[in-house]
């Protein structure tokens, strides 16, 4: 997407930063143009401008705006000799017809301010004038009732240490319109729904945030009476207490076993596993199960599938052999539990013959430096910088220069040779041209300072070192957040790969805690999985209570997770006892192990498998559809599995003449639990009704179970 549209805000303004040395274009004039919506993306800020007059969107490019006002338009826009005749003022005040209407009335303070600047000869201002450094909002956080209001103050900090109130010239935006609204003057009003809402204030490319907590009204829930298993539960509980929400209870053993087996092995527990787990009286049996699951090859397969998606293992781009080698590199990393920083580093600095450095294949799928920079930022930092290719990121601090700085790491990269001897190498300088100014931008990482001299040679190792540094603000948090999202069904930052000021984590302390844990464990992902699975939060029941049925953000109950297309297909193959065959893959291959996402498969397509065209987790379509439901109800393929001569139904019917035993076995296999007495009776009654066609009746029972929500979701 090229342009994000933010609401156009305008209203009468009262005060601007008092400039110490006469009017200053960037500090005094640009904020006015922003405040009155002149440079918004619907007006003169859009890519082609409006009526031949173009401003940079939200004043991110003062030099260009100055030129547009002062030099373009044959000088008619500003007239220092007769300021009121300036086209700028005539149009803005409505004295001359203006498509955008009257924006700044004559006689207002802002009009006077513009007039004064024009009369002064339209100075650029003192080049050494203090620069805007940061923005903060007062208050930072507040607990508000429903239908409450709060006036915000926005304070801009300048390089000389001075702070100025810029509330009147800031733009405001809420991240959740249903919970609260904000006026152009910074008055926040909460609605009637409890929850948490963040208000962004933006001023001249800087952003500041206000967080409002709106607790659930009604009597206070008693302080968390559930046990705390580790640090995670304390941090989750603290947040829930603020919202006056009580968590659901602890899940039982069969729920836990099914949940964790699906999460870590992508399969259902077998009936023997369920029986053994339920019979086990050891107090540490849950953590032992996690340990055991993590050592299964299925765990590495499951992780490899996820990472092959976003690191874009692509047979069409790479050819069969190379794509497979690239996939194997990913799969083995998870099989041997390679520290995650080492994994990222290997990929980032890949160089040499691709045969020996399979990670380098990434750069053969994502070939353009710009694409590599934005893909790797999204995958490893969770930051989407692609907006900043064309203009300053409208909802974050990233400039076009920041974007270009990241691109420069990858410009020296190219390959020589072909076929089996193809090799990646870096040559030339890590610089590239700024897309607008054409100036050279040297390689530098997001949020760091650009080197003053051209850093010669391959700078990717510097990028890798910055990224994997324990103090890096993005990398460990992003890795931790992805693991959390996989296990809890929702990221602390959601989407997991869209970290920005306007999309803050739902529980920053928890995200910090998980990231710190991962760093402390030297990026051992399995250690992180273990600690999350050991938390009471992970082991919470999915049954909602009266206080948390509407909470989707704070992990007060286990969220239903929809298994990925591949996992669902494996679950079906597993319980029917009939494996799926895939073209060009050995017998017994599981859908999760299909490294080639382009291999045709109707079920996988229908259930949302991604094509690996982007690095976005969102490419996997998780939305249910009628077509999917019809497939499970009616597909001939599924019926074949149910009635297969060597399938589970045929085998169980033969092995269990007792209907109750047969029903029990099906419940253990499909639902991972024993049936209740009532469920057993229902099943037995159905089987007994059709004694002459017992196998068909058992097929029907399995069909019904396969089509249930209980089977189709991980809960």
């Amino acid at each position: 997407m090229k342009l994000l549209t933010l609401p156009v805000l305008f209203a009468c303004a009262s005060a601007v930063l008092a400039a110490p040395t006469g009017p200053h274009f960037e500090n005094d004039i640009e904020p006015l143009l922003s405040r009155h919506g002149c440079n918004s993306s619907g007006c003169h800020g859009k890519a082609e401008g409006q009526g031949g007059f173009k401003l940079s969107v939200f004043a991110f490019d003062p030099a260009a705006d100055y030129a547009a006002l002062v030099k373009e338009g044959r000088g008619r826009r500003l007239n220092p000799a007769a300021p009121d005749d300036s086209l700028l003022l005539r149009k803005a005040s409505g004295a001359t017809p203006h498509g955008g209407g009257t924006r700044i009335k004559a006689g207002t303070k802002d009009y006077g301010r513009l007039r004064e600047w024009i009369a002064a000869g339209t100075p650029v201002g003192d080049p050494n004038a203090p620069k805007l450094v940061s923005l903060r909002v007062e208050p930072l956080e507040k607990v508000l009732g429903t239908k409450a209001t709060q006036q915000l103050r926005v304070l801009a900090k300048y390089s000389d240490g001075r702070e100025a109130d810029v509330t009147d010239h800031a733009r405001f935006q809420v991240n959740h319109e249903g919970l609260a609204s904000v006026t152009a003057t910074g008055v926040v009003t909460t609605a009637e729904t409890p929850g948490e809402v963040t208000v962004m204030a933006a001023y001249m490319g800087e952003v500041g945030l206000f967080r409002a907590i709106i607790p659930r009204p009604g009597s206070a829930v008693s302080a968390d009476t559930l046990p705390t298993f580790n640090f995670i539960d304390g941090l989750v509980g603290k947040k829930l207490a603020k919202l006056n929400v009580a968590p659901s209870g602890l899940c039982d053993d069969s729920e836990f076993l099914r949940r964790v087996t699906l999460d870590l092995a992508g399969s259902l527990p077998t009936s023997d596993e369920v029986r053994a787990f339920l019979a086990d009286s050891a107090t540490d049996k849950r953590s032992k199960k996690v340990e055991e699951l993590l050592t299964r090859p299925a765990f590495a397969d499951l992780m490899a599938k996820r990472w092959a998606d976003i690191l874009r293992v692509d047979r069409q781009a790479l050819g069969h052999e190379r794509a497979h080698a690239y996939y194997r590199w990913i799969q083995e990393a998870f099989a041997e539990n390679k520290p995650f920083d080492a994994f990222a580093r290997e990929l980032l600095i890949a160089e040499g013959p691709l045969k020996e450095v399979p990670a380098g294949n990434f750069f053969k799928v994502v070939t353009k430096p710009g694409e590599a920079a934005s893909t790797l930022s999204q995958v490893f930092l969770g930051v989407r910088i692609a907006c900043a290719e064309c203009h300053h990121h409208p909802a974050d601090r990233w400039t076009q220069t920041d974007y270009t700085g990241m691109v420069s790491f990858f410009t020296p990269l190219s390959s020589k040779g072909s076929g089996p001897s193809e090799a990646l190498f870096a040559s030339g300088d890590p610089t590239s041209k700024h897309p607008r100014t054409g100036e050279s931008v040297f390689a530098y990482a997001l949020g760091t300072a650009m080197p003053t001299a051209n850093p010669v040679g391959d700078r990717r190792p510097v990028l890798a070192a910055w990224m994997t540094d324990p103090k890096n603000p993005y990398f460990p948090r992003n890795a931790a957040n992805r693991v959390w999202a996989m296990l809890l069904g929702r990221g602390l930052v959601e989407p997991v790969d869209d970290v920005r000021a306007t999309n803050p984590p739902s529980n920053p302390e928890l995200l910090d805690g998980l990231a710190a844990f991962l760093v402390e464990k030297k990026y051992d992902l399995r250690a992180l999985v273990k600690v999350v699975c050991a938390s009471r939060t992970y082991q919470t029941s999915s049954a909602p209570n009266a206080t948390n049925e509407r909470d989707e953000l704070n992990f007060s109950r286990a969220l239903f997770k929809r298994p990925d297309a591949e996992v669902l297909l494996d679950m079906i193959s597993q319980v029917t006892g009939v494996a799926e065959r895939y073209p060009a893959m050995p017998a017994g291959t599981k859908a999760v192990q299909l490294w080639d996402s382009k291999a045709k498969h109707e079920f996988l397509r229908l259930f949302g498998r991604p094509q690996r065209a982007t690095a976005c987790e969102c490419e996997r379509n998780t939305e249910p559809s009628t077509g999917q439901v019809l497939n499970l109800l009616n597909s001939p393929e599924l019926q074949k599995k149910l009635s297969h001569e060597t399938g589970t139904v045929a085998k169980l019917v033969a092995a269990h003449p007792d209907d109750a035993k047969l029903a029990e076995e099906l419940y253990l296999r499909l639902f991972g639990r024993f049936p209740t007495a009532k469920e057993r009776d229902t099943a037995v009654a159905y089987l007994a009704r059709k004694t002459s066609e017992r196998r068909k009746a058992a097929e029907d029972l399995m069909w019904a179970m396969l089509n249930s929500l209980e089977f189709q979701f991980n809960h």
């Binding site: 997407m1 090229k2 342009l3 994000l4 549209t5 933010l6 609401p7 859009k46 935006q173 319109e177 249903g178 919970l179 609605a191 009637e192 729904t193 909802a395 999915s542 049954a543 909602p544 049925e549 509407r550 109950r557 969220l559 239903f560 229908l606 065209a613 976005c616 969102c618 490419e619 379509n621 998780t622 939305e623 249910p624 559809s625 009628t626 077509g627 999917q628 439901v629 019809l630 497939n631 109800l633 009616n634 597909s635 019926q639 009635s643 229902t682 159905y686 068909k696 029907d700 029972l701 069909w703 019904a704 179970m705 089509n707 249930s708 929500l709 209980e710 189709q712 979701f713 809960h715």
Partner: protein, 439 residues
């Protein structure tokens, strides 16, 4: 400045209405009420929305500029139509004969020329706001037109109210109207030899009574159906809803008949054209006959950046001409045109200036929308574009106005509001005005 008359009409409106409207009718309250009543459909009106994904080049088809410079006008010749004074492209001979049945809005425009956001704009009437991700499917920030229709009017009989074919466009989802108002998607090309709706019927081995048994058993077995869990987890609730809809559809004789395109005579199938667009139009007519209220056809690829003229002439326009002209004619012959509105549009038009690859690029600032039936006037040319078809030369219309017009004809008040799950009221149409020339 537009000063409204005391009756709420602006001077321009009265000019549009013509002198007969202003002076020929007495402006009494009763008269106004009658006028308002006349706008309401007597019968239910259905909608077939043909989306030309990628963007139809309207300067080459419905709004030709033969007097513009060579780098604009293109190589096609305009030819006369049934309607005196109206010319269309020489490669649309069949549509030229049906101009009494449809109208053209030549002063249509919006401000965006990017596929994703423009698609969303045309298919929902709302331009997307911050956070829109065109790569998502679905990516609806607002409900698609068909979902609005499904929500406001509900189903007729056992067929779904809203159907998408031959695939789901990412912006055709229900957004906050929820799974209940999602389209039924026929994910299959009606022009393929053995076309059938995938998995609509159980395998042959499963007889009807066994299906009933299974369904009954499923209700007993699934402890999460109608549970607090399925209410608290959106996707689980959606699967539950879809399951109910799926069973209705499977057991419906009407649905079965409606989807059976092979029941159509070969001659008519040939007339529509044996291609995806033609057969989709034919299936849409069958569905509307069976009671479907909105069918959205997503047809691609109209994104003619390269070799615009060759692609249009050799492939796209012949399909378009046969499919759309036969749809209008067929609906008319069956007496269905009065109750079936057909809207044909891309997400935008294409640049009047021809690019270096003999192509045309994306162009939102001016294009033509074709529409007719459902009680809308046929044979009207609404507005005009400028000499090069770069901008509207008369008061422009946009996606909001199109939506307002469609919904008004269908008996839906565009000013009605929906509430998002968190309680925020959102108008069905974002301040659109009915296109008066057509009603």
């Amino acid at each position: 400045m537009r000063l409204p008359f005391c009756d709420g009409l602006t001077r321009r409106d009265s000019l549009r209405l013509g002198t007969a409207a202003v002076f020929g009718l007495p402006f009494t309250t009763a008269g106004l009420l009658r006028a308002a009543d006349a706008k309401k459909p007597k019968k239910d009106v259905s909608l077939i929305f043909v989306f030309l994904h990628g963007g139809l080049s309207t300067i080459d088809t419905f709004d030709m500029k033969p007097d513009a410079a060579a780098e604009f006008r293109g190589e096609f010749k305009p030819v006369p139509t049934k309607l005196p004074g109206l010319q269309v492209c020489e490669h649309l001979p069949k549509l030229a004969k049906e101009t009494d049945k449809y109208s053209l809005i030549r002063s249509f425009r919006h401000h965006n020329s990017d596929h994703g956001p423009a698609d969303h704009y045309m298919l929902t009437g709302y331009f997307p706001t911050a956070g829109f991700n065109p790569n998502l499917s679905p990516n609806n920030q607002r409900p698609a037109h068909g979902s609005v229709v499904a929500k406001k009017l509900g189903p007729v009989g056992s067929v779904p109210p809203y159907v998408c074919l031959p695939k789901l466009h990412p912006s055709c989802g229900p957004a906050y109207l929820g799974a209940n108002h999602a389209p039924f998607v026929i994910d299959s090309d009606p022009s393929s030899p053995n076309f059938s709706v995938p998995d609509l019927a159980p395998p042959p081995a499963i007889a009807a009574d066994r299906l009933d048994d299974r369904r009954h058993l499923l209700q007993q077995v699934d402890r999460f159906q109608k549970s607090a869990e399925s209410r608290a987890n959106k996707q689980a609730g959606a699967v539950e809803t879809f399951q109910g809809q799926a069973f209705d559809l499977m057991t419906s004789r009407d649905a079965k008949t409606a989807f059976d395109i092979s029941a159509e005579p070969d001659k008519l199938r040939d007339a529509y054209g044996r291609h995806s667009l033609g057969q989709s139009c034919l299936l849409a007519r069958r569905l509307v006959e069976a009671g479907v209220r909105c069918v959205t056809i997503d047809h691609s690829n109209w994104d003619t950046h390269d070799g615009n003229f060759a692609t249009l002439k050799n492939s796209l326009l012949p399909m378009f001409d046969s499919g759309i002209s036969t749809l209008f004619r067929d609906l008319s012959e069956r007496g269905l045109l009065e109750t079936t509105m057909v809207v044909v549009t891309g997400e935008f038009g294409r640049t009047p200036r021809i690019n270096k690859n003999a192509g045309r690029d994306h162009w939102g600032p001016a294009f033509t929308v074709m529409l007719g039936g459902g009680g809308l006037k046929g044979g009207v040319v609404v507005g005009a574009s400028d000499a090069r078809a770069e901008r509207p030369a008369t008061d422009p219309y946009g996606p909001e106005d199109l939506a307002a017009t469609m919904f008004t004809r269908m008996g839906i008040d565009p000013k009605d509001e929906f509430h998002t799950p968190d309680g925020r009221p959102v108008a069905i149409v974002n301040n659109g005005k009915t296109i008066k020339e057509l009603v």
